[in-house]
Symmetry: C2
Subunit: 161 residues, 2 copies
DNA sequence: CTGAACGTTTGAAAAATTTCAAACGTTGCA
DNA sequence: TGCAACGTTTGAAATTTTTCAAACGTTCAG
């Protein structure tokens, strides 16, 4: 294996690890990294071969990744096989998936806040303050996130010419 | 159990689940949620009791959470026990931990890019383009992140009066 | 010094997740 | 039709992660 190959493999491994922080499993991370650095779409078989896994898990993983809008299926005219490539807006989507969970949490917190206001007067003040902080945090995050997406659209348009 | 209690428990469970997306284990998520909604610092024993876990895992979890700067230890003058509370800047820190991994990945990608430029001419162009996109993405993200932290500082100051 | 109250470490058990090989269903080609 | 090339499902095996109880070391009060 030459040096570039080695580095690529390193990258794929590292990516798999890092993307656990985005709610992906290691194998999901590997598939994403592999596709990210493939100049062309890869078939299921090519993926299983590269990653040295059997078809079962890879099939499931590709489906989950599609559900999350991180990769997509494309058809090649010559072949009956499914081919996969990175979703063009993968980065945004990874971000978006996270944000959804954060929002969920936020809603739950809000619900809790109104509940506790009526009942447990003693603890309510401190809790309420903390929930308010949480709420502000998520709102700001949301705002910044939207700004980010807008700017990223521009940036991307520039890159693609 | 009254309604507010029930809701709180829901919240703690949900939080534990959601925070897997931030690289935390379920129990870590629970501890964070518990402390987030406790009006006062909790001792290890109180945490183990609330979460119905034994001391071993909770002890390890609190240490890992401290390493990530999500909770901190405080001492109560009356007791020899360790007490834990949420780190005041927990939200920022959770974010920061993620970003570090992203940056790591980015560095690796960059390294790969320079390597491949010299060697494998055929694939180099497409890969290089993709890495450039990745680079731009992370740079913008980094910028937005810093803006966010600045604004959040202001916001927080306002909230605390 | 001694004992009790702690948090931490540890090795094994339990639980959850990942993985595989094989069976299966579908599709299109001969 | 029948067969071959696929992707998917499935139940069991392997691996990893989580958990516990017990042993341990430290600290402090008496």
């Amino acid at each position: 294996m030459d040096k570039a190959e080695k580095l690529k493999e390193d990258f794929i491994m590292n990516f798999g690890w890092a993307y656990k922080a985005f709610g992906l499993s290691k194998l999901m991370g590997h598939v994403v990294a592999l596709l990210l650095f493939s100049p062309k779409p890869l078939s299921l078989d090519e993926i299983t071969e590269s990653l040295k896994r059997s078809k079962g898990p890879v099939s499931q993983i590709t489906r989950r990744l599609r559900d999350k809008n991180l990769i997509r299926r494309v058809w090649q005219p010559t072949s009956r096989k499914d081919y996969y490539e990175i979703q063009p807006d993968i980065f945004e989507n990874a971000f978006r998936n996270n944000l959804e969970m954060v929002r969920n949490n936020y809603k739950l917190a809000q619900k809790f806040r109104t509940q506790i206001k009526d009942q447990n007067v003693q603890e309510a003040e401190i809790l309420s303050a903390r929930l308010e902080e949480m709420q502000s945090f998520y709102e700001l995050m949301d705002k910044k996130y939207r700004e980010f997406l807008d700017e990223w659209d521009d940036e991307r348009a520039k890159l693609l010419g």
